[in-house]
Amino acid sequence: MTVAPGLFVPRLRHRRRIGTIVATACAVLSLIGVMFLGVLLVRIGKEGWSWLTTAFLTNFPSVLSPELAGIKSALWGTIWLTLITVSVSVPIGVAAAVYLEEFARPGRVRWFIHINISNLAGVPSIVYGILGLAVFVRWMHLGRSVLAGGLTLSLLVLPVVIIASREALSAVPKSIRLAAYALGATRWQTVRSHVLPAALPGIMTGVILALSRAIGEASPLLILGALTYVAFVPQSPWDPFTAIPLQVYDWIDRPQPEFHHLAAAGIIVLLGILLPMNALAIGVRAWHQRKKAW
């Protein structure tokens, strides 16, 4: 068949113009997000920067004299929570991911577990607070301790850790597993020596991002009955605690403007923890992308 050249109507000018319009629209829309972040940072910086002193980091909160108040108890509470959350959610989450990805036979049971974990990742954090209150505070009699708080946050991030770890594990090419099996390796030897090391950067990225979510949570801890005014540092996992988001919430809630400055300074401290963590996650991912060669 012969095609007459006149049948093509390229309309190149028109197509290029549409391309330009779409590109501009996307650029503007993406800037909106960045703009709001910028406004937030500037506002918080203005309000809180001058209140951010070493005394702010080393003093306990004070209801009567805001100018002497500090974030020491909340900062330590957050550190405790983070440590407990890491040491509970990482082993359980990675083990669950390894089981589901490497050992469980594909079938209904695995599918059922998979669906449930995916759903759990979408459950609002306040629901985890209710669960934590029922299970850890009341049933296990842990009280309003930092341990109960850490365990609750562990439950909260567990689905995210499992999903991120599974994705990292399944990204390891099957050919590497087959190579190991062909040498007479068992499943566990294959996973331990080849699959886990190759998936580790991906798992770490997921864990860091999950933790940074846990660190910013206030509502589940409020449900647990965590205190907002604490004038001591937890000495053991069974001690009461507060956390930075709770402290910020408490300060914001007060009518006096001084406390709002304190809240802004607290937010700066929180961001000062979260942004480096996210940067670390991005760094690990970039390093991994460069390193892997399959």
Binding site: L178, A179, A180, A182, L183, G184, A198
Partner: protein, 285 residues
């Protein structure tokens, strides 16, 4: 048994059907009868299905010790499936099921309770695409022996395996660098070294040269030819010239069936079956 001692070609000699594949006469003398050989692997009425699709149908085949047995046939004829059955790598394919029997040195490897891990210690495998571990060259070779409790001098073993795989001279100064820094042909020879470091009884090779350029292919072929002094090799290839160059016995498969198996020289000069002849003369496939 098909491969009995001194079985003489009974068909009359005729002109080769294939425009003679280049065979190094010095190292390959097809006219000489092969010395006696023991049987290492035997498939008996072996049928392998993926779901309901039968990829291998009723195949009966013997593999003799210290020979290179080539399995040829067009894509999708079931040759790789048959090969992967021999060290039970099909276990990792969901939906694969096996009927019939497959014996390794007299033992049915598909009987209930048979340990495939133990089998794979004795039957190594080289894959189609080079698949080194994301580790150093040394660790790639040393890992198999070390997880299997090798008590000898591991450095000596690694050197020996790399020498046998004709890779030692190229990598001896960078043993602790990443295996991914090697070229494709070198990576494939590393995978061969990794397999033979286990001192396997049998080496299964699944189109080991299909991802390589002609020069790397020639090196691997030389290597396969030398390996049969120590190992039993089963080679899957869709390259007929390769089968003619390196193998002693050739099996031709088509649509899941084993059409014909004979000494390589016979298959390429006087095939017994019309379909074999059509395939090796390039009428299809």
């Amino acid at each position: 048994m098909v491969n009995v001692v001194g079985e003489q070609p009974t068909r009359e000699k005729s002109a080769p059907l294939v425009p003679a594949p280049h065979v190094d006469a010095a190292r390959h003398k097809p006219s000489e009868p092969l010395p006696p050989a023991e049987q290492v692997l035997r498939a008996e009425h072996l049928t392998i299905r993926y779901g309901t699709f039968a990829a291998v149908k009723e195949v009966t085949l013997d593999v003799s010790a210290r020979r290179v047995t080539a399995i040829i046939g067009p894509s999708g004829c079931g040759k790789s499936t048959l090969l992967r059955a021999m060290n039970r790598m099909n276990d990792f394919v969901t939906g694969a099921s096996v009927q019939g029997r497959l014996f390794y040195r007299g033992e049915d490897i598909y009987r209930a309770g048979f340990d495939p891990v133990e089998l794979r210690l004795r039957i190594g495998m080289v894959f189609q695409k080079p698949n080194p571990f994301p580790k150093s060259i040394f660790k790639n070779v040393a890992w198999g022996p070390s997880i299997n409790g090798y008590r000898g001098d591991i450095e000596e073993l690694v050197e020996h395996a790399l020498r046998q795989a004709a890779l030692w001279d190229e990598v001896k100064d960078k043993l602790h660098e990443s295996a991914y820094a090697l070229s494709g042909g070198q990576q494939q020879r590393l995978c061969i070294a990794r397999a033979i470091a286990m001192q396997p009884d049998v080496l299964l090779m699944d189109e080991p040269c299909s991802a390589l350029d002609p020069i790397a292919t020639a090196r691997i072929e030389d290597l396969i030819y030398q390996l049969k002094a120590h190992y039993t090799v089963v080679l899957v290839t869709h390259n007929m010239q390769q089968a003619a160059r390196v193998s002693d016995r050739t099996a031709f498969m088509y649509m899941g069936e084993l059409i014909e198996v004979d000494d390589t020289a016979m298959i390429f000069t006087m095939p017994g079956e019309q379909r074999t002849q059509d395939y090796i003369t390039g009428r299809f496939g």
